[in-house]
C-alpha cells in the first residue's frame, strides 16, 4: 500500500515490513497456486462426477423410469428454494414430459437450513411416497408453490409452518392419500432417515446448493443467464447423452 523507504547515507532500503509483506504474499501465492494446480486431493479434473451409487439407489424416487441403462438425471432439490421452483417451472417439468419414456429422472432431497419449510415439504413428499404417490406430491408442491412456500404478499419466503401444513393436507386429499397415515408418516423416523440419507449422499456428491443436477453422473453446470438459455443447454446435454 505505501512504499516506505528509510534513506540513510543516500542508500534506500525497503523496510523489514515491506520485505515481510512481500514474503507473505509470495508464499501464499506459491502455496495456494501450487496445491490447486497440482490437482490437490486427487480430485478429477473437469466437470465433477459422482459415482452412481451415491447419486441414486434402488429406493430413490423416480419421476420417470426408463430402466437402469437409460440416461439418468438426478436432481438434488429443496422444495422451498426459489431457484428450484424456477427450474421446475422453466426446465424440469417440460423435460419430464418431453423425455419421459427415454430417461430416468431421479429426485433427491437436499433441504437447506435457511429455508424453514423445506424440511416439512420434503417430509410431505416422502410421506406421499410411502403411499406410492411421491411424484404426485412433488408436482403438487411445485405447482402450488405460492400457496405455501412464499408469504401471502408473495414477496418473501414464508416461515408459516401451519399454513404450509394445511396446504400439504389439501394436496394429500387431492391426490387421494390416506391423510391420517400421511400425517403419521410425515413425523416418522423412516421419513426422517430417508431425508438424512439423501442429504448425506448429496454431501458426498459435493452438492452445496440447490438445485444441483447430474446427467449420467456428471454435474450439470449451466453458464446461461436466463432460464431459456439454461433450458437449451440442459436439453442439448440430454440429447447428446441420448445420442451416444
Amino acid at each position: 500500500m505505501s512504499k516506505e523507504k528509510i534513506v540513510e547515507g543516500g542508500r534506500a532500503w525497503p523496510s523489514a515490513n515491506v520485505l515481510l509483506t512481500i514474503g507473505v504474499v509470495v508464499v501464499a501465492i506459491i502455496v495456494f497456486g501450487g496445491v490447486l494446480l497440482s490437482g490437490g486431493d486427487d480430485q478429477p479434473q473437469g466437470s465433477p462426477t459422482a459415482s452412481d451409487s451415491v447419486l441414486l439407489n434402488e429406493n430413490s424416487h423416480r419421476l420417470t423410469d426408463a430402466g437402469d441403462n437409460a440416461v439418468t438425471v438426478v436432481e438434488f432439490l429443496d422444495f422451498q428454494c426459489p431457484a428450484c421452483a424456477g427450474y421446475y417451472r422453466n426446465i424440469t417439468a417440460d423435460v419430464e414430459q418431453d423425455y419421459g419414456n427415454r430417461i430416468t429422472f431421479v429426485v433427491r432431497n437436499f433441504p437447506l437450513d435457511n429455508h424453514s419449510l423445506a424440511l416439512p415439504a420434503a417430509q410431505a413428499a416422502e410421506a406421499a411416497g410411502m403411499q406410492g404417490k411421491y411424484a404426485e406430491m412433488y408436482h403438487a408442491l411445485y405447482e402450488n408453490y405460492e400457496q405455501w412456500a412464499v408469504n401471502e404478499d408473495g414477496d418473501q419466503l414464508s416461515d408459516d409452518e401451519d399454513r404450509a401444513r394445511a396446504a400439504f393436507d389439501s394436496f394429500a386429499e387431492e391426490i387421494g392419500l390416506d391423510v391420517d397415515r400421511f400425517h403419521a408418516d410425515m413425523a416418522s423416523d423412516a421419513v426422517a432417515e430417508r431425508i438424512e440419507a439423501d442429504k448425506a449422499d448429496g454431501e458426498k456428491a459435493q452438492v452445496t446448493g440447490t438445485p444441483t443436477l447430474f446427467i449420467n453422473g456428471e454435474r450439470f453446470t449451466p453458464s446461461g443467464e436466463t432460464f431459456a438459455e439454461v433450458k437449451q443447454q440442459f436439453r442439448e446435454k440430454l440429447d447428446a447423452e441420448l445420442a451416444q
Binding site: 500500500m1 505505501s2 528509510i6 515490513n17 509483506t21 473437469g46 459435493q206 452445496t208
Partner: protein
C-alpha cells in the same frame, strides 16, 4: 504514490503536527477504502430491493452455487439486527468517507473523535468476522459484494487501531506495543488476509479445483 521520507538526524517528526506517521495511510484508507465499502453496500442494498420486489430475481453476483449473493441475501444473517445489513454499511461507510475528506482538508480530530472511530471500526470488524464465519460454515456460500466489504473493513479497523495506539489515544501515555505493530503494519495485515483466504480455500476446495 512512492514517497521518500527523509529521517532527519534530530529524529523529529516530519508529519504535520497532530498527524502521526500512520496518519497519511489512515487518511487515504478512509477515502478510498470507505468509498469502495460504500459502493459495495449501496449495490447490495439495490440488489436486496430488487429481490424483495421480485423473489425470483437473480442478483448480478449469483454466479454459481458457491459465489451466490442470492442465497446469502435471503438468510436471517443478512438482517442480523433486524434491518438489512447493507443499511449499516451505507451509514458507516458514508461516515468513514466523510472523515477521510475532513482529514484531508486538515482537520486534526481530538482524542474522543478518534476513540469514536475506534468504536465504530471495532464493531465493524467484529460484525464482519461473524459474517465470514456464518457465510463459510452456516450458509455455505460466498457473496462477492459482501467480500468486498470484508476486505475494506479489516484494514479500516487495523489502521485506525494502530494510529490510535501510536498516538497514545488509549492510555494517554507512551505508545507501547503499538510501536512494534506499527513497524510491521502491512505484514500483519497480509497475514490476516492470508488466514481468511486460506479458510475460504479449504472450505470450498471441491469447487475451486473444478475451475483449473
Amino acid at each position: 504514490m512512492s514517497d521518500t521520507r527523509v529521517t532527519p538526524a534530530s529524529s523529529e517528526r516530519t508529519d504535520a503536527p497532530g498527524e502521526g506517521p500512520l496518519g497519511r495511510i489512515v487518511r487515504w484508507l478512509y477515502l478510498i477504502g470507505g468509498s469502495i465499502g460504500l459502493l459495495a453496500s449501496f449495490v447490495l442494498m439495490v440488489e436486496k430491493i430488487a429481490l424483495i420486489e421480485n423473489p425470483s430475481y437473480v442478483p448480478t453476483c449469483s454466479l454459481n452455487p458457491v459465489l451466490s449473493c442470492g442465497s446469502v441475501m435471503t438468510t436471517p444473517q443478512a438482517a442480523a439486527f433486524g434491518v438489512a445489513n447493507p443499511l449499516l454499511g451505507i451509514t458507516g461507510f458514508a461516515i468513514i468517507v466523510t472523515v477521510g475528506v475532513v482529514l484531508t482538508i486538515g482537520f486534526r480530530p481530538p482524542r474522543w473523535f478518534w476513540l469514536a472511530l475506534q468504536a465504530g471500526t471495532t464493531f465493524g470488524v467484529l460484525f464482519v468476522h461473524w459474517l465470514i464465519w456464518q457465510s463459510l460454515y452456516t450458509i455455505g456460500a460466498l457473496c462477492p459484494y459482501c467480500m468486498v466489504v470484508w476486505a475494506v473493513t479489516i484494514p479500516l479497523f487495523w489502521y485506525t487501531t494502530l494510529h490510535n495506539l501510536e498516538r497514545g489515544h488509549f492510555s494517554r501515555g507512551a505508545s507501547g506495543p503499538g510501536a512494534v505493530l506499527a513497524r510491521y503494519h502491512s505484514f500483519v495485515l497480509a497475514l490476516w488476509f492470508v488466514a481468511i483466504i486460506a479458510l475460504i480455500a479449504v472450505r470450498f476446495w471441491d469447487y475451486w479445483v473444478t475451475l483449473v
